[in-house]
């Protein structure tokens, strides 16, 4: 049985009065003493105004750039880009994609980031409906090939989807998560490195449904 939260006095800034929070079993909580997860709901079509930095000049303070432009965070600078297609092969213009990753040393951020936070957020409300996230190539964790975790939300998804991005120029053959995917579908999780000058560009498209459907994972 879950431990009950003790009554605590909390003094907030800005002259808010003290508030005694009662134990969770208290009737005033929407949890009704039940510690089941709060269910997911869709991000909807308007998430940009709350989650995209400076969208429509709204003065948000939280930037979700993976790597600040002038950051001296070590690691190879790369660009992840792609489109997200629906069942008809039409690019989805209102999806949100978040990438989670460790640094180039394979270590996850544990302190407020200076220049690198292990987290980036992109969206497809762009001219060509593609998302773009600039980051550094993640390092290996526990000897496994580098990968990014993907949190995907959009209008139409009441619950987000979870998947992983691997890299086409790495040896991914021994990765246990990739090997849990039927062989014919593993390619849906490989970002393809493009040729060209400057930072490496990896393309990672997502197909929500039907032929070439991206593999998603049960990790809730």
């Amino acid at each position: 049985m879950a431990e009950q939260i003790k009554t605590e006095e909390v003094l907030h800034s800005k002259g808010q009065p003290k508030l005694n929070f009662k134990p969770l079993t208290d009737e005033s909580s929407n949890l009704h003493g039940n510690l089941g997860q709060s269910p997911s709901q869709t991000v909807g079509p308007y998430f940009h105004q709350g989650l995209v930095h400076k969208f429509q000049d709204i003065d948000t303070a939280v930037s979700a750039m993976m790597v600040e432009e002038r950051s001296d965070t070590p690691g190879e600078r790369i660009v992840l880009t792609g489109k997200i297609y629906d069942a008809d092969g039409v690019p989805i213009p209102d999806a949100m994609i978040e990438l989670w990753q460790p640094g180039a040393d394979g270590i996850f951020v544990t302190e407020p980031g200076v220049g690198f936070n292990g987290f980036g957020r992109g969206h497809t409300r762009t001219d060509d409906y593609s998302y773009t996230i600039r980051t550094i190539k993640p390092g290996r964790v526990g000897g496994r090939p580098p990968r990014l975790a993907v949190w995907l939300g959009m209008r139409g998804l009441l619950t987000h989807l979870i998947t992983f991005i691997y890299f086409s120029d790495e040896d991914n053959s021994a990765d246990p998560v990739l090997n849990a995917v039927p062989e014919a579908r593993r390619g849906t999780l490989i970002a393809r490195r493009g040729e060209g000058q400057g930072d490496a560009v990896y393309t990672f498209d997502i197909r929500m449904q039907g032929e070439g459907e991206t593999a998603f994972f049960d990790a809730y």
Partner: protein, 259 residues
């Protein structure tokens, strides 16, 4: 049939939306046991966007994915107050409310220093987002966005305007109940949650395919805030309590707290 709203396409009834507990079919898989299924046909935009293949079980728990850490330097004093953080020439219109709650893990422990981002319609049921073409007025002093970090007790505090209901194109005469979008970071990838807070007694919840996509009544109830006279401030604003629980079966097991 009432006259359609000018500027809106006429939506013919495509399905029989009746108030009921849920439209989720029996036996339909619920991610994490609590979340709405991905394919949920009463919510029409899920039909071409939800995967058809089954989700693939992970061979082990996702212990190795930590989350971002957001420092207090990213949050400004009025970021958690939409009645102040977008003023141009006055106060936003509508019913001022205070929403308070705790962010907890599934063992009931508070999650500290976690980022919560919210966004919502204004009192008239209009988002400032350019895509929203609902024929209701914008409020020049309101963007409806806020962000805050939970404190040492896992608590957050949001001051805002009660959002209005608004129509949407899912089916004929479809209206979203009043809601505030919540984006929540826990301590890692599997504790990341985006959800919505509803208001007690709203009759539109019984018709809403987004709310009714949650299969279990207890789960639906957890997204309905509670009116709270202790949070209500004398001669200032009504108060609502909205506690949030994140983290499911894949979350990193934590040591038992014997303190």
């Amino acid at each position: 049939m009432t006259a359609p709203n000018p500027g809106q396409s006429i939506q013919q009834p495509t399905q029989d939306i009746q108030p009921k507990e849920t439209h989720v079919e029996e036996g339909q898989k619920s991610p994490g046991g609590v979340h709405p299924p991905h394919l949920y046909s009463p919510y029409t935009s899920s039909v071409k966007r939800a995967p058809h293949e089954l989700l693939i079980p992970l061979p082990g728990p996702m212990r190795d994915f930590g989350g971002p850490v957001f420092g207090t330097d990213r949050i400004r004093p009025d970021d958690n107050d939409t009645t102040r953080n977008a003023r141009v020439n006055g106060e936003p219109l509508g019913e001022r409310i205070i929403v308070r709650g705790r962010l907890l893990d599934s063992s009931g422990r508070p999650i500290r220093g976690a980022l919560i981002e919210t966004w919502q319609a204004n009192a008239a049921g209009r988002y400032i987002h350019k895509r929203d073409q609902h024929q209701a007025p914008l409020d020049p002093n309101f963007t409806g966005t806020a962000r805050m970090l939970t404190d040492d007790n896992g608590e957050y505090l949001l001051t805002t305007i009660r959002p209005g209901a608004y129509p949407w194109g899912n089916h004929y005469n479809a209206w979203r109940p009043s809601h505030i979008h919540f984006s929540v970071f826990g301590r890692g990838f599997t504790e990341r949650l985006v959800s919505q807070m509803y208001f007690p007694g709203d009759p539109l919840m019984a018709y809403d395919p987004i709310y009714l996509g949650i299969p279990d009544k207890k789960g639906r109830d957890r997204l309905v805030s509670r009116f709270d006279l202790d949070i209500t401030q004398h001669e200032w604003a009504l108060g609502y309590r909205f506690d949030i629980v994140v983290g499911g079966t894949q979350a990193t097991p934590m040591e038992e707290n014997h303190g």
